[in-house]
Amino acid sequence: MINPIVSANELVKTYSKGLIALNNISMVVNKKEVLVVMGPSGSGKSTLIRTFNGLESFDSGELEVVGITIGTDPEDRKVREIRKRVGMVFQQFNLFPHLSILENITLAPIQVQRKNRIEAEDHAMELLSQMGIEKQAKKYPIQLSGGEQQRVAIARSLAVNPELLLFDEPTSALDPERVNEVLDAMRKLAQDGMTMVVVTHEVSFAKEVADRVVFMDSGKIIETSSPNVFFNNAKEERSRKFLNQIIK
């Protein structure tokens, strides 16, 4: 049997002031699966996916990502091994403003994977044309539109050939007319078989691309359903209330 890419068991995380951000989370992400995470603001979605690549620690429970087990007091070496194999795309893009687009993408392949520059740049150009922005390679982040910056961020996370991509509200900071170019790029990735965990409120994207939808509230997973069930016939009262609010 094939092991899941992520497997979390009874994860608990409390922030300093006693606020429970993750309350007994157990879940798996399977290979080639697209998992969409939804839930009201402050429900713990970001915290959850950030534990998957070690940006957040947790207080108790078990977590295995790409075959590596990390505990509550993870070793740096293991966390870095996971980060080399898991990409992350942020709401605010977080491109490196002092590096060109090409340098943003080749940084990790050259510094972390010790690839040679030519090879890394060739791969980066390939990724940029896959994202439809190969003309911007020599520019700097500030010269690009939000949608283009986010596509660069996706290319940057793909540059190390990750086994899993994490997206934290990748279209929330975009102008409405720029949302689709980013979602389209993500659709293509999904078609190519990339394993993805996507925190988003884009209902049409979730309906079309997600294999499963996870609904969170107050640090708990309330419901995990196929998009068909979730959007038409959600099992839980809280899910239906949330959907009423976002769909209007």
């Binding site: 070690g54 940006l55 980060r83 990409g87 992350m88 977080n94 490196f96 990790a108 190390v160």
Partner: protein, 299 residues
């Protein structure tokens, strides 16, 4: 009512300043007449007739005052330049450690910064000179004679570079002091970089050290440079405390010359001009760096 009172105060302050200034000018002219000295710089060509322990260029007491002053200048530059480089290194390393994740390094950095910033520089210089060097009995060898030897004569590096105890304690004192201030400037700069940049470099797999060096510091530099410039200017000015440990810098030599010749006015004018010049150079240099960085960031 209020306007009237502030008017009185202003007039009062003006009057006091005027009287002070008048007394000063009066004293000056009386002194000049009494000592029979006219304002002139001709005395600069007379022999200095004092010896100097340290001189990067040939010097003997029969050389002119002008040459002695120039030697003093070089001695000052020798201290300022080296201290500038080493304190920058200390400052960056400490500032980075202070914002880093290693708790032990963090505590060490914080204690160093606090200790140094809470005690006067003069005291620290005296400490390095009298406790650090003059109290050494015999020689201290690290790890053998060809690498580093400490004695009450100063420091001997690689067997053939000799630094006097005066020079060494001055450089150590100034670098340790300035380093602590630069560390705070660096910390402020690092904290001005958005948290997302740390998350981004971590999530692409960079380790903490390369992330800080390649991603955080370049973005912190624009915020660091102005503070760094003022620390460099302070360093140059503080170097005049050399006189406390008997190092012959420009100030110490000017002081001797003024005592010998009575040319206080001319001496201080030269001294002021030389520091003005030095600090202008430092400011221009930093402006130049600033321009490079901002240009590079805008592209």
């Amino acid at each position: 009512m209020k306007g009237l009172r502030s008017l009185y105060i202003q007039v009062g302050i003006g009057l006091v300043l005027f009287i002070l200034f008048a007394v000063l000018i009066n004293n000056l002219s009386i002194n000049l007449i009494r000592t029979n000295l006219n304002f002139s710089f001709k005395w600069l060509y007379r022999p200095a007739s004092f010896a100097l322990a340290e001189h990067p260029l040939p010097y003997s007491p029969s050389d002119s005052y002008a040459w002695a002053l120039f030697i003093g200048w070089l001695n000052s530059l020798k201290v300022i330049f080296i201290s500038l480089i080493i304190s920058t290194l200390i400052g960056f390393i400490t500032g980075i450690a202070r914002t880093g994740r290693n708790p032990l390094l963090k505590i060490i950095a914080a204690s160093y910064i606090t200790l140094i910033r809470q005690t006067p520089l003069l005291l620290q210089l005296m400490f390095w000179y009298f406790v650090g060097f003059l109290s050494i009995k015999g020689t201290l060898i690290f790890p053998n004679e060809r690498i580093l030897v400490l004695s009450n004569q100063g420091i001997k590096i690689f067997g053939d570079i000799n630094l006097t105890a005066e020079y060494s304690s001055l450089v150590i004192g100034l670098t340790v002091f300035t380093g602590a201030y630069i560390a705070e400037v660096v910390r402020g700069g690092i904290n001005s970089v958005p948290r997302g940049q740390w998350e981004a470099f971590r999530s692409v797999g960079l380790n903490e050290n390369s992330g800080v060096l390649k991603i955080i510091i370049p973005q912190a530099l624009p915020a660091i440079l102005p503070g760094l410039t003022s620390q460099y200017l302070n360093l140059a000015k503080n170097s005049t405390l050399a006189i406390a440990v008997g190092y012959a810098d420009i100030y110490a030599i000017s002081d001797t010359i003024i005592n010998q010749t009575g040319r206080a006015i001319e001496g201080f004018i030269l001294l002021l001009l030389s520091f003005l010049f030095l600090n202008l150079i430092i400011s221009l240099m930093m402006d130049f760096f600033n321009e490079i960085i901002t240009k590079y960031q805008k592209v």
